[in-house]
Amino acid sequence: MRLNAENIKGMLLRYIVAIVILAALFTLPFWGGRYIVMLVMLMGMYITLGHMWNLLAGYSGLTSLGQQMYIGVGGYTLAVASTNLGLPLVVGLIMGGIVSVIIAVGLSYLLLRMKGMYFAIATWMFAEAMLLIVATVSFLGKGQGLFITEARKLVTAQIYYFSIVLVVITTIVIVVLLRSKLGLGLFAIRDNDSASATSGVPQFKSKLYCMIISSFITGVCGGVFYMSQVWVQPYASFSISWTVAAVFIVVIGGIGTIAGPIVGGIIYVFLSQYLSTLSQIGSLNMVILGVIAVAVILVAPKGIVGTVQEKFGFEILSARRWLGKSLAKVPVAPAPASEAERES
């Protein structure tokens, strides 16, 4: 992609659209109804959750089934930090992320030696073990859980901003990350594990970075969610349904695409809100989500975004590097072969 008039126009258009969307998001509480604000707030959290699962499963080949662990850890850390230690909520959120990272790094030396089913089931097992531990520690309220008293003072609009800031930062992190050298390495690992290792992609390090980023942001996301709930309880916060939601969002939207979790997250929130209005549906809403996800994997494995991209050949948010830009700066330098191939 070279910098000619058409490309500049396209880029300008992108920036304008992005600015309009951001402006709309950040002013929503002033002109939108309470219900809309609540919906968009939920979307922000679920899109974040989806992005982070996608980073692991869609880009690094690490099919995690234990994302609920970081949600729970984030929620509990926030509760302990704000109620027991009297720290401000923002500090509690960040601490939730840090504790999640510590756990993830501790487990990574074991987890990253595993592949495929070993990784998937081991992550699930660790989350279950964490649930069992948390539900027996009296300091953490055992099965009753903990209240986040400080969060009671917040109104929905304030939590809304936490959620929006989180999702915007997460999306930017994902875009920047995937366009970086690390991202390029991740694509290589996902596409061919051993070939990438031979070509000098630092496998362990790349995957570790992904786990660190994913656990941090998912932990913060859990904190934000439980800030809106005011009460964190072990069986809900460490529930596998968090991972179910993440899988649904990413599979529907399009696994391995940046826009996928965004589209999937919006659909998930609308769908689950709609299903919860139907009376007597009970646990059938999970059945419906499961059936849709399985059907999408069978019929349109690339999800909505992937299928649209394939048909129309354009990407809303591209993970590919903007080669044109670097070429414009240093016109003499030839592009490395791998990047040129990616571009074609």
């Binding site: 499963a57 596998i240 499961g290």
Partner: protein
Amino acid sequence: MDAILQSIIQGLLLGGLYAAVGVGMSMIFGIVQITNLAHGDFLVLASFVSLSVMGAMGWNPFLSLIIVIPVMFVIGYIVQVTMLNKVLSRGAEPPLLVTFGFSIIIQNLLLYFFTANAQKLSTPLLLKSIAISANIRIPVMYLIACLVGVAVIIILGFYMRNTYQGKAIRATSDDNEAAQLMGVNIKRTYGIAMGISMMTAGVTGVMIGVLFNFYPSSGSTYLIIAFAVVVIGGIGSINGTLVAGFIFGLAQVVGGQILGATYQQLIGYIVLLIMLIVRPQGLFSK
């Protein structure tokens, strides 16, 4: 001392059943190369099928196997042929996610139809036991479950070695293309393999349902038991599965006896964890 001895007996007997819980998952992983994340949920599904059959016919749990086993075979065959076969060529992740979807669907369908209440397949045998000494007794039902579990594994091993279909399944697992050239219908073979795996889940599901309370959400507990057995035993080794079942059952029951019943599940995880660190390829891997 007697209490420890008692729990060693109980753990060993339970281990025989655990081996059969794992053998179906191990088989599918070895042959079809799918991780069936719904294995535990299929097992619990079988318990509920048995419950319904018992309710409708007034039969005892063992008689209900006449219906449970064929039903589970048909479910396994259909699931494999209509869905899983279609995603096999797309790498490891899509089949994994499809079975994860099954797990969620089965679990919540059971929740919808049977509520979250604890269920049990009741039989008077559960209360009977054989006295060995004053304080040590062998519970009859544990003994039956163990024998059934071991029988499942022996029959499966015999079937794999001595029948045409069993040989075809093994050939497919060794070399997919060569088997195809010899006239083996791969997709159908996979279907039959999944059907057989589900039959083992059916038998063990009924035994589990008699021994313990079960809930729609019990599947993940048994998935982890199955996974532990597969990991400890080494993939594809039927004898390894048997030994692994005994080790895992023993660790859980004896550990639970020493540390308290609430930690029983956690001990299982820890055993598995140690195994994953020390010898991730399993004790009896090829």
